[in-house]
């Protein structure tokens, strides 16, 4: 049995982020017709008019949680969905908006950006009260995570098609370096240039290093990452420890933050 008897109901939900992962799905032009026919897409803001759903088999959730209203919606999704998949680095790690969390208190930052009282009354009803950005697994149980900024088609399709076929995708964490070596690339770190490949989750086919651009870590932290040794290496090639940590934190999100604090 490698296909469900009934077409699974799928919802694509978006929270705070650039909506790039929803766009990435719509950009899979060769597979797009199959995407909308192989499953019953009931909720997909970017592609369809708003629809209410009672229940979805699979919820693809993109974006981090930034307001209390989003949090309530997220919890509702968890109640209505059998399987929740975190889609993209914002949902899996917190994304760029996770940055700065530990530098100042959240209230202080709000004051800094929005003025004296730190409130935005005209928006609060629409979007809810802001809270520090967090990846979705901080609030609900997540069944599968597909990192990416945005998710790569080659990475997304095998996991997604297994889920809609009623199979269980396997988890196999590997860093960018693996696909970088598949491409036969030389290593930036050996030539005194920074590259975050060894600590970044793979799945992108190492597209940046292949085109001569070092990895900035947009897929978030790789599960087997050795941050201590990575920072040492970055210092060796001329970065200060602070710079190295800032570079790691750019997309690193919560996992990197905890590792840098030594709590992992």
């Amino acid at each position: 049995m490698w296909q469900r008897e009934k077409k699974p109901v799928v919802g694509v939900f978006g929270f705070s982020g650039c909506a790039g992962d929803q766009l990435a799905i719509l950009h899979m032009e060769d597979e797009l017709v199959d995407f909308f026919t192989s499953a019953d897409i009931k909720f997909f803001h970017m592609a369809q008019s708003h629809q209410e759903v009672e229940h979805v088999d699979i919820a693809l959730v993109e974006g981090s949680i930034n307001t209390d209203k989003q949090l309530a919606e997220l919890k509702e999704i968890r109640e209505k969905a059998d399987i929740v998949v975190a889609l993209g680095t914002c949902a899996t790690h917190g994304g760029i908006q996770y940055l700065g969390d530990n530098e100042k208190e959240f209230k202080e930052r709000m004051l800094l950006v929005y003025g004296k009282d730190g409130k935005i009354p005209e928006f609060s009803e629409l979007v809810g009260n802001p809270i520090p950005a967090k990846p979705i697994h901080k609030f609900i149980e997540v069944d599968f995570s597909i990192p990416g900024c945005p998710v790569a088609k080659e990475n997304f399709i095998p996991i997604y098609t297994k889920l809609i076929s009623g199979l269980k995708p396997s988890k196999y964490p590997y860093p960018v370096c693996v696909e970088c070596k598949f491409q036969g690339n030389d290593c930036f770190l050996l030539h005194g240039e920074y590259c975050l490949g060894p600590v970044t989750a793979g799945g992108c086919d190492a597209c940046c290093p292949t085109f001569g651009v070092p990895c900035v870590g947009c897929f978030g932290a790789y599960e087997g990452a050795n941050f201590e040794s990575m920072i040492e290496k970055l210092i060796e090639i001329g970065l200060t420890e602070e710079d190295a940590k800032r570079k790691l934190m750019m997309f690193g999100g919560e996992a990197t933050e905890l590792a840098l604090k030594g709590e992992k």
Binding site: T161, Y174, G184, L190
Partner: protein
């Protein structure tokens, strides 16, 4: 025929009488072929200016791949014209194993009606410019994939691959002299040794011989005594160029055994980035993962083999979720004990061919040289067994 034997005996004379200096590495020219199969296997000479014509000829035999320089590194790429080739290289990032066990390739296609194996086409692939270490690497892969149980996907690729070796000069990272793989006597179809004005061409197989016969316009069997001397001098020069050496490489298996619980491993484990580079670039590492990839229409799909690395976190995870090697130290230990110890126990030689890729490409300097040096030091400190 008599000429060949004459040449052969001359060569043997030189070796045994004048150059006993090479006693540890006896002259391993493919002379045994003359003895075994004297009618078939030959050694030729080719003038360098005929080489482009030879390349043109060989291109008619199948898709030609060869070393190409690009972005500051070398790789085996498709060759359109002779000028693309650059034989002045030490190592490519990925060796010729990419023709035999590519990083990812489909093995099975299926849809709801059934399934079918996926094989590569019968079109031969020719790879030129392969160094002795990489040929040794292929010999090790052959042993693993074409042993008692033959891997059909590998076998098909191997049978379609024509290997044309090329001589090389070592750099500081080459350790093939220590591993005993700096010369090669079989495993290739043709082998070119580059001398001042000409190539010496060794024939290593029937396939190679048939190419040589076809290329008889470019090849001559007349090799003068002077040219043999030139070759011997060249080998001597090459032998002296090796800078890096692993002391008493053959005892390394014992040293690893003695040091199995040493804290040296922890030190390397702390440093290791667990990025997989060492094994992905290694010409003898061949572990793969198998994944099913279902198409978006959920009607069909394919099964893929993906090159794996034992330094990755879930490599030793089994059904049920237990991971036998959750930490970097134990994974690194697995890599080195397998390569330098266990393989010797099984096959009488390490599965390191001294190509120096791990030495060149590990970002944090964990490689055969640093690991073996650290282990030797450990033994010397503790047991005073070192001279």
């Amino acid at each position: 025929m008599s000429k060949i034997l004459e040449f052969n005996s001359k060569l043997l004379d030189y070796m045994s009488l004048k150059f006993s200096i090479f006693s540890r590495y006896p002259y391993r020219l493919p002379y045994k072929y003359y003895v075994k199969n004297s009618l078939d296997m030959k050694t030729y000479k080719m003038s360098k200016d005929r080489f482009p014509e030879f390349i043109e000829l060989i291109k008619t035999k199948g898709q030609l791949y060869g070393p190409v320089k690009g972005n500051g590194k070398y790789s085996f790429e498709e060759i359109e014209k002779f000028e693309d080739l650059d034989f002045d290289y030490q190592r490519t990032v990925i060796g010729p194993k990419k023709f035999l066990t590519p990083p990812r390739y489909p093995t099975l296609r299926y849809d709801k009606s059934g399934q079918a194996d996926v094989f590569v086409s019968d079109e031969p692939q020719i790879v030129i410019g392969v160094h002795p270490c990489d040929i040794h690497g292929i010999k090790i892969l052959d042993r693993l994939f074409l042993g008692n149980i033959k891997d059909p996907y590998y076998e098909k690729r191997r049978n379609n691959l024509i290997i044309i070796g090329h001589s090389c000069l070592p750099d500081d990272n080459c350790i093939c002299k220590s591993t005993g793989t700096d010369m090669v006597e079989d495993g290739f179809d043709l082998f070119f040794t580059e001398l001042a004005g000409h190539y010496l061409v060794w024939v290593g197989s029937d396939k190679g011989l048939s190419i040589a016969i076809e290329a008889e316009d470019f090849l001559t069997e007349e090799i003068s005594e002077e040219e043999i001397q030139e070759y011997v001098r060249w080998q001597q020069k090459r032998s002296e160029m090796f800078k890096s050496e692993i002391p008493s490489f053959k005892y390394l298996a014992d040293i690893i055994h003695l040091n199995y619980d040493s804290k040296v491993w922890d030190q390397f484990g702390e440093k290791c980035l667990s990025c997989g580079t060492c094994s992905l670039v290694c010409p003898t590492c061949n572990c793969f993962n198998v994944e099913d990839r279902i198409s978006m229409n959920t009607e069909d799909g394919f099964r893929e083999r993906i090159l794996d690395s034992c330094t990755l976190p879930c490599y030793s995870m089994v059904a049920g979720g237990h991971d036998f090697r959750p930490d970097r130290t134990s994974r690194l230990k697995l890599y080195y004990t397998h390569k330098l110890k266990e393989y010797i126990g099984r096959w009488g030689q390490p599965s390191c061919v001294g190509c120096g890729r791990c030495v060149t490409y590990c970002p944090v300097n964990i490689n055969v040289i640093t690991v073996s040096e650290a282990l030797y030091e450990e033994v010397c400190e503790n047991q005073e067994v070192c001279e």
